[in-house]
Symmetry: C2
Amino acid sequence: MDKLQQSSYVVCLAFSIVLNLSLIFKLYGHGGQWELSWSRRAAEEAEYVAAVPCSGHGRTYLDGLVLDGKQPACECNSCYGGSDCSQFLTDCESNADGGDPYFLEPFWMQHASESAILVAGWHRMGYTFSDYAYISQELERLIRKVHDIAGNAVTQGRYIVIGAGSTHLLNAAVKALSFSSTSSFNSSSSSPASVVVSIPFYALYEAQTEYFRSVDYKFEGDGSLLQNITDGTKRVIEFVTAPNNPDGKLNKANFQGPNSEAIYDRVYYWPHFTPIPTPANDNVMVFSISKLTGHAGTRLGWAVIKDEEVYQRMLQHTLTSNLGISRDAQLRALKLLKVVVEGGGKEIFQFGYTTMRNRWENLSNALSVSNRFSLQKVEPQYCTFFQKIRGPSPAFAWVKCEREEDKDCYTVLKEEANVYGRSGSVFGAEDRYVRLALIRSQDDFDILLYRLNQLVSKEDAQPQIYMKNVTNPSLS
Amino acid sequence: MDKLQQSSYVVCLAFSIVLNLSLIFKLYGHGGQWELSWSRRAAEEAEYVAAVPCSGHGRTYLDGLVLDGKQPACECNSCYGGSDCSQFLTDCESNADGGDPYFLEPFWMQHASESAILVAGWHRMGYTFSDYAYISQELERLIRKVHDIAGNAVTQGRYIVIGAGSTHLLNAAVKALSFSSTSSFNSSSSSPASVVVSIPFYALYEAQTEYFRSVDYKFEGDGSLLQNITDGTKRVIEFVTAPNNPDGKLNKANFQGPNSEAIYDRVYYWPHFTPIPTPANDNVMVFSISKLTGHAGTRLGWAVIKDEEVYQRMLQHTLTSNLGISRDAQLRALKLLKVVVEGGGKEIFQFGYTTMRNRWENLSNALSVSNRFSLQKVEPQYCTFFQKIRGPSPAFAWVKCEREEDKDCYTVLKEEANVYGRSGSVFGAEDRYVRLALIRSQDDFDILLYRLNQLVSKEDAQPQIYMKNVTNPSLS
């Protein structure tokens, strides 16, 4: 009896000690895990909010609405509804209009741990960093690093200025170049510089340049019209978008000479969207975190600038208009770029390219059987980043309605397929064209593809008298 | 022997069980503590960085430099140096120039847990919120709530637009009002609206208005000069700063009538800096998170607007110039405002007022024995927030050099006390005045006070022939 009792004690003791050890390991064993104090509440809150599944067709956010004072509300993707986004809304509009770059959202969910940031209440309260600069040195370093990795821009010996997205920097560049001495521009000159574009072009260039009604510059639209009448003495600032929004072409400046300056909008010049033939080396180049990592909402872009005076003027623009760029946006960008450069950028660019390439192939396949709709042609090209010839993966489809009577392609897609794109006329082109955004969420793309497949399948039932136009539909 | 052995087993087992229970409690016992997964790394990183003490005279930041690839580098307050900020730099410049609102930093360190945010990598990637708005509904709700609590502005039935700090909104307001139909303003009118101020005034109004060189408005400086020559048909946009920067006066608009519009810059109209006699109810009022919570670096401000058309135009301005305001800045502001409104705002306003009041009293005492320097006079007034008459606690000291020969007060303080303020001429006033910022860190204020005390103490050693001028030194 005593022996038996003693054996039970030994067994119990052994079990208890094993439990001790496993608990101790769990508490302290992960390589000296930090015991969290003031950060725990925020971390728990974030995980609590993120844990709501929303049926895989929506998302909850820290700053979203809160139901019954506790449960974060699901914000459903287009075409999904109900409190948990489980309901498919069959009659919904297919949104292919705005360029929200949610195609990279799954990448960030896969890299949750590396990309999370905990911001302390006292983080960066002042106007400047401790070196009196308005940009974090670490952020600038990472921006240069990511260009080195992608091989898409020369940054050695160049100045970098950040802005509240490329939007902020485009006007900063127009303003700076309208004054620039590098092109013999003179601030006291009586006639404003002419701001020009190539058709089709991103509408903001016109809207923004006209909005400020500055005496220093004037939007004059299609540069090719101006080119024919100018003798080279007219001061010209040219927006060059490469790859172009909407058609993905790697545009080049049309204006040369001492009185011309180009603003290269290179926000889509990343391996996601285009082969990178060579590092860009233009005088003024604009990039954004929005099209690199998908964080449009963060509002952070940068310009890479050759000339010091232009740099100083652009920096001054960001200060006079906004008194610098949000430290919170800078911290976010810093963290995201850290993840991008890990492992030489392979991961995000492979993810981005694969996603965009698949979408383009699916869309091309859907429209290949159509005589009514055609897509822009993009030739395969050697990409120095992937070190191979690669096919197209553009951010947008630039669709042409080929039938004579389909003069308004936007309305055709809207009325016959419930697909909402963006009219060609918004880009200064014919309304026979419509832009479809391919960078939105997977749900958005899936619905778009489904609707287009349905639309194209109806063609067979109708007599076709038009030949498919196979020329490049780009107008520029 | 067996008995003894058995007793030892019992004791060991009991001890082991107690240890197990305490470990289990530690692991799972805090009211069902969330087991952290993807957020843990960010939380640990933030605590690791924040744990570096920097001798209490500096700070480490998540986006600061990193020493030897690991240890975050201390960024020292002015007048402190060394790798751990322990070295007092006796010959350092006393910085009383910029308005970095670090006086509230200790408040946020005391509220570390409530004010921390953990931002997930996929947080708010799109351009808009799910309701297609550019402002979080929760943020707008909290902005209205904080005004209700402070009793400093009417927001019921008013529109709210956010901007990248007040800086962004000031130009948005000028632009919007230059077009506004509410004052019979007409966009096709040939003559630009006159933008005016009262002296002394915040220099950005002039710098920004002139910078954009718009055909819609023109900076005309001192409104009182214009008032004498205008017959009331001239379109006038008046900047009214209340409390005024630099002198703290609760300015009112000088221009009335159908052709005049005022932009009330009310960023200092919080109980920290001024008694709140009544809720402000102006047509266009601008506020900022910078002067409310001390987060200048976040770049977030808002305007409270009566007229819908003016609101729409200001919103359009924020979109055309920046395509909306950083979602990261909005999330930060949301969290900070949540802490502010907890407990009816008592905590932060009491902290802010006590700090600023103490600083003002110390400064007043230091200069009260001086015949050479005088301060602006601020009368005690009833404050509806604190429900009592309270003394002054302004953000800035507006110092006058009383000696005939001290025509350049900035240089006097710089050369005789190594104190760097901001010249009167920067505010359109005489250089006999200088602005000293009182809202900076406690280290900055302590050094300022020490230097001024030293300077004043030297006066006794010199013959005094000037009587102290006791009139209000404000020029407006």
